[in-house]
């Protein structure tokens, strides 16, 4: 196995890279076609004030602004849109993180979607989800339908990593080729490569599938191979059978080889050298669930998961969940889960009860979450959080919500947290949310 190189120089700020890639994308598009009047401009703003105490009795009042903007024009043979989202934070009280102010551009890209052939071209900071790739990149993404049920996708750019301890790469590229019969199946082959100065630090290939042979059966899954370690990273498959509208049976299988799966992460926390993630470990997770909608307003489910490890002990996780709602604006849920592991820490009961009631434009929510350990964790056997939230819709576009959360955990005796959120949606034209 290769020894990962430790970073010795700070990575360029992600926001600068994102802005650069957006500007480049804008320039490319402007050169490519005439500017169009946007037929839809939408946005939403969330202003959030958190209130809590820190570990050292410091008083934390971080104020956040989350802003998402979308402008699109669909007058031509396709739709061109600009999507930008990010957040900023300022500490009104003591410092909540390393810096008193912080921010991030989560995404910012120009997109073109043709009316024919599902052709999509995105340029900028974006989240690429294609087969083995689940990556945030500053770059270019292309996808299209081809002849005879084939589809192709490709992406190239700079991997957007945050605060890396270990090199995250300066170039990432990959693609996916798939064949589909929309009613019955879709099978894709995909690959990605991340490199630093031309040397590959991640090389992954995989197959993903969705099978729908008959109306009541739905199978999804993915297998991913690491070319650098020459081992399978993961196999993960889930099959669902829906014999009636009210009943759904599901079975899942996951197999993970830690040495191949955690081969190139950018944080020490999940690295193979930290003593927490054991390189020789292999995990099997086999599980199943049954979901039953007794009526339109009552849903019940039961689940079971078995975890088996080569090095660590095994564990069983099982439980039941119930949800119901009424026509009078009441919705509620109850759940009980049991973790039965081979170590004392992995033996506990987990309870949750929640209810929310609407009163016209107002709503009230209570949420109780309790974990009862068989033996004490840091001197405590029972930990819980009790949250109460209230919201008021001043209009379809303007909402204020506030919550108080009381927590008794392994680390805190009586922790009280508060949050106030002002949400405002604005814009013209009909778009998704």
């Amino acid at each position: 196995m290769k020894i990962k190189e430790k970073i010795t120089t700070p990575a360029p700020p992600g926001a600068l890279k994102a802005v650069g890639s957006i500007l480049l994308a804008c320039a490319l598009v402007i050169c490519g076609q005439q500017a169009a009047d946007a037929t839809a401009i939408n946005g939403n703003s969330e202003t959030i004030l958190r209130m809590r105490e820190g570990v050292f009795d410091d008083h934390l009042f971080p104020l956040y602004e989350y802003l998402n903007l979308s402008a699109s024009d669909s007058a031509g043979p396709g739709a061109i849109s600009l999507e930008i989202g990010g957040w900023g934070r300022v500490d009104l009280g003591d410092r909540s993180f390393e810096r008193r102010t912080e921010g991030d551009i989560q995404y910012g890209f120009l997109s073109y979607r043709a009316n024919r052939g599902n052709f999509t071209a995105n340029a900028g900071r974006q989240w690429v989800v294609e087969g083995v790739a689940t990556e945030r990149i500053d770059g270019l993404y292309l996808r299209t339908d081809l002849l005879a049920g084939f589809t192709a996708a490709a992406f190239v750019g700079n991997p957007a990593v945050t605060e890396p301890d270990i090199e995250g790469g300066d170039l990432i590229y990959g693609g996916r080729l798939a064949h589909s019969m929309s009613k019955y199946y879709s099978v894709g082959l995909s690959a990605l490569r991340t490199q630093v100065s031309g040397e590959g630090i991640r090389e992954e290939e995989g197959v993903d599938l969705w099978l729908h042979p008959v109306a009541m059966v739905d199978i999804t899954g993915r297998s991913t191979y690491n070319s650098l370690t020459r081992g399978w990273m993961e196999h993960a498959y889930t099959a669902s059978v829906t014999p009636t509208d009210a009943l759904r049976l599901s079975a899942s299988l996951q197999n993970v080889h830690y040495q191949d799966y955690f081969y190139q992460v950018t944080t020490n926390t999940l690295s193979l050298t930290n003593g927490i993630i054991l390189p020789g470990e292999e995990m099997w997770n086999v599980g199943g669930s049954v979901g039953f909608n007794a009526t339109k307003n009552i849903g019940l489910s039961a689940e079971y998961n078995r975890y088996e490890y080569d090095l660590a002990g095994d564990a069983d996780y099982y439980g039941v969940t119930g949800n119901f709602s009424t026509g009078t604006g009441l919705a509620a849920g109850l759940s009980f889960h049991r973790m039965d592991g081979s170590t004392a820490r992995l033996r506990y009961n987990q309870y949750r009860a929640w209810a929310t009631q609407k009163f016209g434009p107002a709503d009230l929510t209570l949420d109780f979450f309790d974990v009862d350990f068989d033996s004490s964790i840091s001197g405590r056997e029972n930990t819980f959080s009790l949250a109460a939230a209230a919201g008021y819709d001043f209009s379809p576009n303007l909402r204020v919500a506030a919550d108080v959360d009381y927590i008794r955990s392994a680390d805190f005796d009586n922790e009280l947290r508060g949050l106030i959120r002002l949400s405002y949606a604005f814009g013209i034209g009909k778009e998704g949310k």
Binding site: N118, P159, T383
Partner: protein, 144 residues
């Protein structure tokens, strides 16, 4: 020179295959507004019945649907919806941000900071979906 020619030929071939595809693109916006957790089978009898958000295993399977046909997700969800959970860099847990939406399957409910050293041992591979390449800031607070 060889490389350029190769790329040009590939580009022309793909353009030809695209031109012959002759498929209609998935609608950019769902024709009817959908509220709450949709049960797609109420209207659909085609392959989209699989996307019922009320199914107990939808949370487990949605990654594959998104990786295969993200345009279908985009008919109702914009990028701003996805980043609520799949953020590049985030300081507020989704389950903290949306306490007034208890019906959603938001990760890390309750006091996960204390609990993650217990639960994280069960399936750390699931952590890598959000942490390990992004969202490393919270990890670095304690894991130096």
């Amino acid at each position: 020179m060889k490389k350029t020619a190769y790329v040009m030929v590939m580009g022309m071939m793909l353009s030809f295959l695209y031109a012959c595809a002759n498929t209609n693109s998935i609608a950019r916006v769902h024709p009817e507004e959908v509220k709450g957790l949709p049960r797609c089978a109420e209207c659909h009898t085609d392959q989209w019945t699989a996307l019922s958000h009320q199914a107990q295993d939808f949370y487990l399977k949605h990654k594959i649907y998104a990786a295969q046909q993200r345009d279908a997700c985009n008919t109702c969800h914009k990028e701003s919806f996805c980043v609520r959970c799949h953020a590049h860099k985030e300081e507020i847990k989704p389950s903290d941000k949306y306490k007034d939406r208890p019906e959603l399957s938001l990760p890390h409910r309750g006091d996960y900071l204390s609990r993650h050293r217990v639960e994280g041992r069960i399936n750390p591979a699931s952590c890598l979906k959000c942490h390990g390449r992004q969202n490393n800031e919270r990890c670095k607070t304690c894991h130096r």
